[in-house]
């Protein structure tokens, strides 16, 4: 070829090379960035469609955490006399239920996302990472709605957050990254092993009890508390309470353990996903 390839407008054409699967591929952040609009539209679709043809609509975003709060307050707070670090128990648990719901929703949605979008995966090319990421982001709207309710409750109980509230976005990000880290592994596994679908409910339930939603992490003996951070959601929930309610101590070592776990989960998940992705269309 003597002349370089140019398109009609005289711009140089990009060259695409198609090769057999390789065992290590880069994450492809640049391509992901190019497809950011698709990410936006898929997230928007999920949000738009979620409450179509429901009588209560977006109220569902509040109903679930509110009922869980009522049940927890009654059984754990009132009857079980679980301590709540000096905070009114309903606020104490609702503040934890918000990031929990965000996480649980994001985890189950992202794990099922590839299988749920298999018609796309077998017919169109786009970076597959867009699918689980958009599934995770879709839960943010529900979170925002329920968050308004939390602010109302804090007002009612006369709780004013301190300067720590500026760290809140960091904890939201941590919750999302935890869900994505686990969701990447599970969604890729789900393509090949549909057992994953049945594991998720169980996993979420189990995880809820391992997370300080209904109880404070202060009931864990101090020497074990950092280890408790191996559950990244423990770091998230304690972080939320610290940032919003201000009364418990800053999560400290527990938080850093959580962050480290999330980084490992996420990076591993990304590479595993990219490696498996090359065969998704063949086996889904």
């Amino acid at each position: 070829m003597t002349s370089p390839n140019t398109n009609i407008d005289g711009q140089t054409l990009s060259t695409l090379v198609i090769r057999p699967p390789s065992s290590w591929t880069s994450i492809g952040f640049r391509e992901l960035w190019e497809y950011r609009e698709l990410l936006y539209f898929l997230t928007w679709r999920d949000i738009k469609v979620r409450y179509k043809q429901t009588a209560l609509g977006a109220a569902w975003a509040i109903i679930q955490p509110v009922f869980m709060m009522l049940v927890f307050s009654l059984f754990f707070g009132r009857l079980g006399k679980i301590p709540s670090d000096g905070i009114p128990y309903p606020v104490f648990t609702f503040c934890a239920l918000l990031p929990w719901q965000l996480f649980a929703h994001a985890l189950s949605e992202s794990s099922n996302s590839l299988v749920g979008n298999q018609n796309l995966i077998t017919k169109v090319y786009f970076p597959r990472l867009v699918v689980p990421i958009s599934a995770v982001l879709g839960g943010l709207i529900d979170f925002a709605i329920a968050f308004v309710l939390l602010l109302g409750m804090m007002l009612y109980f006369g709780i004013v957050p301190g300067w720590q509230i500026i760290t809140l976005p960091g904890f939201i990000l941590l919750a999302i990254m935890t869900a994505l880290g686990v969701g990447l592994w599970l969604s890729a596994l789900n393509v090949q092993y549909r057992d994953v679908r049945y594991t998720i409910n169980f996993l979420v339930q189990f995880w809820l009890f391992a997370t300080p939603v209904a109880y404070p992490s202060s009931i864990i003996p101090a020497q074990w508390r950092a280890l408790y951070g191996l559950n990244p959601m423990a770091g998230v929930v304690e972080g939320f309470r610290w940032a919003l309610l201000g009364k418990s101590d800053s999560p400290g070592a527990l938080l850093w353990v959580s962050v480290a776990v999330v980084v490992v989960l996420l990076v591993g998940g990304l590479y595993y996903f990219r490696r498996m992705e090359q065969r998704f269309a063949d086996i889904v």
Partner: protein, 430 residues
């Protein structure tokens, strides 16, 4: 100017049988893992024996080369057709070129932005409105939001859905749905466009419109790869055509030549092989031909033609022709004697029998013809050892989407109507 737009070198794609359709349950993997040590034990035992050859062939049986060593190059601005029977590897090739799946070996190079259109309306969501779906579908096909906004009016008028653009597409008629989906697809503006049998949708008027659009795209120095069973479409649009058979390139050249050769091979005749011979008769030739062209579609007028020679004198010959699925399930059969009496044959004489079926009710898929030849007077009832394969190609049988094997074997000459009852409407809608 002959810059290369697409170059494939030795592309092959191997599927493990069943892999395409089914996923594994973890249980199976665990069972396999549990059995594996015993298997390797058995293997090492048989290595001393002589069972290795068998094992090897067992492995080969479980894999399928959907594409084998495919190499070709397409120049910029060329419109190339791809033809072949079902299972020839056309779709696999397009899937590799549009990066949905990866080749097992070989590589391909594409210069320019690739747009692929393997299905009309991928990602359409029934709950969203026409307007919303245009943006969603456009983004899925790789268009930018600004680009979609620019072409929005053009898409809407192409699809003729102006009035319903803010109605959820689940309320659309199938025609409107297809028009909108196709409208979005033809307005993406890639340098290389890869299209699978999507022109077969919609009514005749709309199909013509799509053709014109495709030709227009082709003239704009875009490169197009087009898979179709519609030979006349390929003849009109494509300058060169690639013919695939069982995963291999069998022909690549000027469209007219390639199609003529392909059509000849589809209306193929049986070589006078041993397997088409019985004690008294020899089947010289079998043909399954459609009046509407070389490929057979559902509800075509079809003729099954047989040329048979007798090895000895037969006073009252009779021919039985059955249509069955490849796994031997008999669907229907015709016996010559029920229609007319066959003349007596002397040894060496050739008899031509033609079974005409006005409207073949078989849905797309592979079929076989089995033949029994009878000497009524001599009480000889002889089964021809081999069956003759033929195929009904995929098409939009009922005028809408393409019908595939999930619809069974028999096409019904049906009409469907839907109506809301006035009284019930008032009750169910608040």
């Amino acid at each position: 100017m002959s810059e290369v737009a697409i170059r494939c070198e030795g592309l092959s794609k191997q599927y493990r049988l069943g892999q395409q359709e089914s996923y594994k349950a973890l249980r199976d993997v665990i069972t396999n893992a549990a059995i594996a040590p015993f298997r390797s034990l058995r293997r090492s035992l048989s290595r001393n024996g002589h069972a290795i050859g068998n094992r090897q062939s067992a492995i080969d049986n479980r894999t399928l080369w959907a594409l084998k060593d495919v190499s070709f190059a397409v120049n910029r601005g060329e419109v190339v057709g791809i033809i072949g029977r079902n299972g020839a590897g056309k779709s696999t090739l397009l899937k590799i070129l549009s990066r949905i799946t990866k080749p097992t070996t070989g590589h391909a190079e594409i210069h320019g932005r690739v747009g692929s259109l393997l299905e009309v309306g991928t990602g359409f969501h029934p709950e969203l409105t026409g307007r919303e779906n245009i943006f969603l579908n456009g983004a899925i096909l790789g268009m930018r939001k600004a680009e979609i906004e620019k072409k929005f009016d053009e898409i809407v008028s192409f699809a003729e859905v102006e009035k319903f653009i803010d109605t959820p597409v689940k309320r659309y008629s199938s025609g409107m749905y297809v028009r909108l989906a196709f409208g979005v697809a033809v307005h993406m503006d890639p340098e290389v466009l890869v299209v699978d049998e999507v022109l077969a949708v919609g009514d005749a008027e709309f199909q013509k419109k799509c053709f014109r659009k495709m030709q227009e795209i082709g003239r704009g120095n875009r490169t197009i790869l087009l898979v179709s069973h519609n030979m006349s479409a390929i003849r009109t649009i494509c300058a060169r055509t690639l013919a695939l058979d069982r995963g291999r390139v069998v022909n690549f050249g000027p469209t007219a030549e390639v199609i003529d050769e392909y059509e000849a091979s589809v209306a193929q005749s049986v070589p006078g092989s041993k397997s088409y011979e019985t004690e008294t008769f020899v089947v010289e030739e079998v043909q399954v031909v459609s009046a509407n062209g070389p490929v057979i579609k559902t509800f075509d007028s079809v003729a099954i033609k047989l040329r048979i020679t007798a090895k000895a004198d037969v006073i009252e010959p009779d021919v039985y022709v059955g249509i069955q699925t490849p796994d031997g399930h008999l669907l229907s059969a015709l016996v010559c004697r029920d229609f007319c009496a066959a003349p007596a044959m002397s040894a060496g004489q050739v008899m031509e029998t033609e079974f005409k079926i006005e409207s073949l009710p078989l849905l797309p898929g592979p079929y076989e013809i089995k033949m029994h030849l009878v000497d009524v007077v001599g009480y000889k009832f002889e089964i021809v050892p081999s069956t003759f394969p033929f195929e009904v190609v995929e098409s939009s049988v009922y005028g809408g989407r393409k019908i595939d094997r999930w619809f069974g074997q028999i096409g019904l000459d049906a009409t469907v109507s839907v109506q809301l009852e006035e009284g019930a409407l008032a009750k169910s809608v608040r």
